[in-house]
């Protein structure tokens, strides 16, 4: 069996976000790029499963839809342990476009299990996984927080309101994973960093697909108002502020 992990290349989560003067595009100056945190968790779990599978899982690949400047992030995934990588050479314009491109590679290379993070930490669309499953006509399981592979039997746990649902599923399928899928993302080891030098990144051209979304404008969140301190004895003042100013009473 083969696992394909979808990975977005996103600004580091501590980045101070800025846009261009027309507020239409992210200003990428000085941005440090990382593997989308949920995808990194998916990759870590995929590698754990492969290592425990006794050879049943032959390889874990990663795929990114992006231009060449995403390659340092892809190589980090290879250093963490992915066996090889695919990059579809195109700007990742919207979820529909991305899902269509991934589907093409997944089909051509006949992957059995496709894992992706529940959303990307930049655009938070949370749509690629389900769209991808539709394109492939595979079942998809969302909000997966546990993935067990016992001798080829796959059991997944999903987070549902108030508890967890355990389901068994057979390949091929798409698992859309979230926090809990593994404890921590893997840190690349020296050996992995060394080996990443020779692992292949297969670059292909995108298939013709329309992007369905055009962003009109972006807004930055209003900066948080300063905290107001009220003397502990002065409850009248507190009520007045909550009522008149914050309008929550």
């Amino acid at each position: 069996m083969k696992i394909l992990v979808c990975m977005g290349n996103v600004p580091d989560t501590t980045t101070k976000i800025r846009f261009d003067s027309e507020m239409k595009k992210l200003d990428t100056n000085g941005v440090q790029w990382v593997i989308n945190p949920w995808d990194e968790l998916a990759l870590t779990r995929a590698l754990e499963i492969k290592e425990q599978s006794g050879g049943k899982i032959e390889k874990v690949s990663v795929i990114n839809i992006g231009k060449a400047d995403a390659e340092p992030t892809i190589r980090k995934a290879l250093a963490i342990g992915a066996d090889d990588a695919y990059r579809v050479d195109a700007d990742p314009t919207d979820s529909y476009f991305i899902a269509a491109q991934i589907a093409e590679v997944a089909k051509a290379e006949s992957f059995d299990i496709i894992m992706c993070g529940i959303e990307s930490s930049d655009f938070n669309d949370a749509a690629v996984g389900s769209m991808l499953a539709e394109f492939l006509d595979y079942p998809s399981v969302s909000a997966v927080s546990s993935f067990e592979f016992n001798d080829g039997n796959i059991s997944l746990k999903r987070d549902i309101d108030g508890g967890k649902e355990t389901i068994s599923v057979s390949a091929p399928f798409v698992a859309i994973v979230q926090k809990g899928i593994c404890i921590n993302p893997r840190i690349p080891a020296m050996r992995g960093i060394m080996m990443a030098r020779t692992k292949p990144i297969k670059v292909t051209d995108p298939v013709a697909t329309d992007s369905l979304i055009e962003a009109l404008t972006f807004d930055l969140p209003v900066s948080k108002a300063a905290c107001k301190m009220v003397d502990a004895d002065n409850t009248d003042k507190l009520i007045e502020l909550l009522h008149g100013e914050a309008k929550v009473l």
Partner: protein
């Protein structure tokens, strides 16, 4: 001239950073307070390959360059200087010493277990009466034909207990003074080795430091490094490289304190404004940042020279002295910026100030570095 890091160097720096924040930070205060050795973390660092970072892959190492190594040390030291010194002694002294001056047999025998971190390296030069003056070695290595018989005491030995493999410096021909000194690879568990109690130190409290007593310890002849009498010159060569590691540790400690002080100065208010808006504080931050930048550049230049196979003893003495002294100044100012909060443990700068002090002392005090620097300048 190129000031860009490579993708791999950045990946290693980030890996060290992620590890330090995730695995070292949570229990650092407790380990510092109770002098607890970072056993779990050392094991994890070993699995990640940090104990074989520069060792040639043919002996099981990662084969990374010195620049990657100093970047990793700096990131670890920002959070936990004690773990950084364990790494520094192991990599810059023990592993480097065997890899660059050992025989092929010695390399094959000892490097793989060092590279995997199965054995942690220690370096035994200092003695109760031989610190800065390392020539006056009193530990004797008597030539007994097919082995050496060791008797004497070493002091202040980092990783003396948890380390598995020692590089020992001892005197074979006292009449020849420093030219009679030899270096040996010694198994920590050899019969006749006993340790003094764990030193109760100002900083680096989570690394183990002991005196080590040798009583009729037999070391096979094939464990001597280099020609007969090479020991002192060997130790000095190792310390040239070791100083780059300690400089990186120092600048890491300083950088950690600076980051905390910068953040705190933007949050703490006094006289109606954040304290960073008071020029006295802002200028402190500027001075600290300049020293950090200078220190880093000196370290990177040394690491680069080393990677190019060019001489670096003058530069590494400069880096060690500058970074050690700057670390003390920067951490002291970081405490000052924190005011009373800086004086309590919870805010970490108190600990970082304690950690910084020893970077002016070990692997050659700041005074000794100035002797090295000035003697080089005044030569011929």
């Amino acid at each position: 001239m190129n000031f860009e890091f490579t993708e791999e160097q950045l990946m290693i720096k980030q890996a060290a950073r992620d590890f330090a924040v995730r695995e070292l930070l949570p229990d650092i205060l407790e380990r510092d307070a109770k002098c607890i050795y970072p056993e779990r973390q050392v094991k994890m660092l070993a699995e990640l390959g940090f104990f074989g970072i520069m060792i040639d892959p043919q002996y099981g190492g990662g084969g990374m360059d010195s620049i990657s190594y100093v970047l990793a040390l700096e990131e670890i030291a920002k959070i936990d200087a004690a773990t950084a010194v364990i790494l520094a002694v192991h990599n810059s002294l023990t592993a480097y010493g065997i890899e660059h001056y050992g025989t092929e047999d010695q390399k094959q025998k000892f490097l793989p277990s060092l590279a995997s971190g199965e054995k942690i390296g220690a370096f035994l030069l200092s003695e109760p009466e031989a610190g800065s003056d390392a020539t006056s070695q009193k530990t004797i290595a008597e030539d007994k034909g097919d082995y050496y018989l060791i008797n004497g005491t070493k002091n202040w030995i980092t990783s003396a207990d948890h380390g598995g493999l020692y590089i020992l410096i001892a005197q074979t021909y006292p009449e020849k003074k420093h030219k009679g000194i030899n270096a040996f690879i010694v198994d920590r568990n050899s019969p006749g080795i006993t340790l003094g109690p764990h030193e109760d130190k100002m900083g680096m409290r989570s690394s183990d430091t002991h005196s080590v007593m040798f009583t009729d310890v037999k070391v096979p002849k094939e464990n001597r490094i280099g020609e007969d009498g090479f020991g002192f010159s060997f130790a000095m060569k190792l310390l040239d490289g070791g100083r780059i590691g300690i400089a990186a540790q120092a600048i890491g400690i300083a950088g950690g304190a600076f980051d905390l002080a910068l953040k705190y100065s933007k949050e703490r208010k006094a006289f109606g404004t954040e304290i960073c808006n008071h020029q006295a504080i802002a200028f402190k931050l500027a001075d600290m940042a300049v020293k950090l930048e200078n220190g880093r550049n000196l370290i990177l230049k040394c690491a680069w020279l080393k990677d190019q196979g060019k001489p670096y003893s003058l530069e590494s003495a400069m880096a060690k002295q500058y970074c050690g002294d700057s670390a003390m100044e920067i951490t002291t100012e970081a405490v000052q910026i924190h005011g009373g909060y800086g004086y309590v443990k919870e805010y970490h700068v108190e600990r970082l100030m304690r950690e910084a002090k020893v970077t002016q002392i070990y692997e050659g005090t700041s005074e000794i570095q100035k002797i090295v620097i000035s003697r080089t300048l005044l030569k011929d």
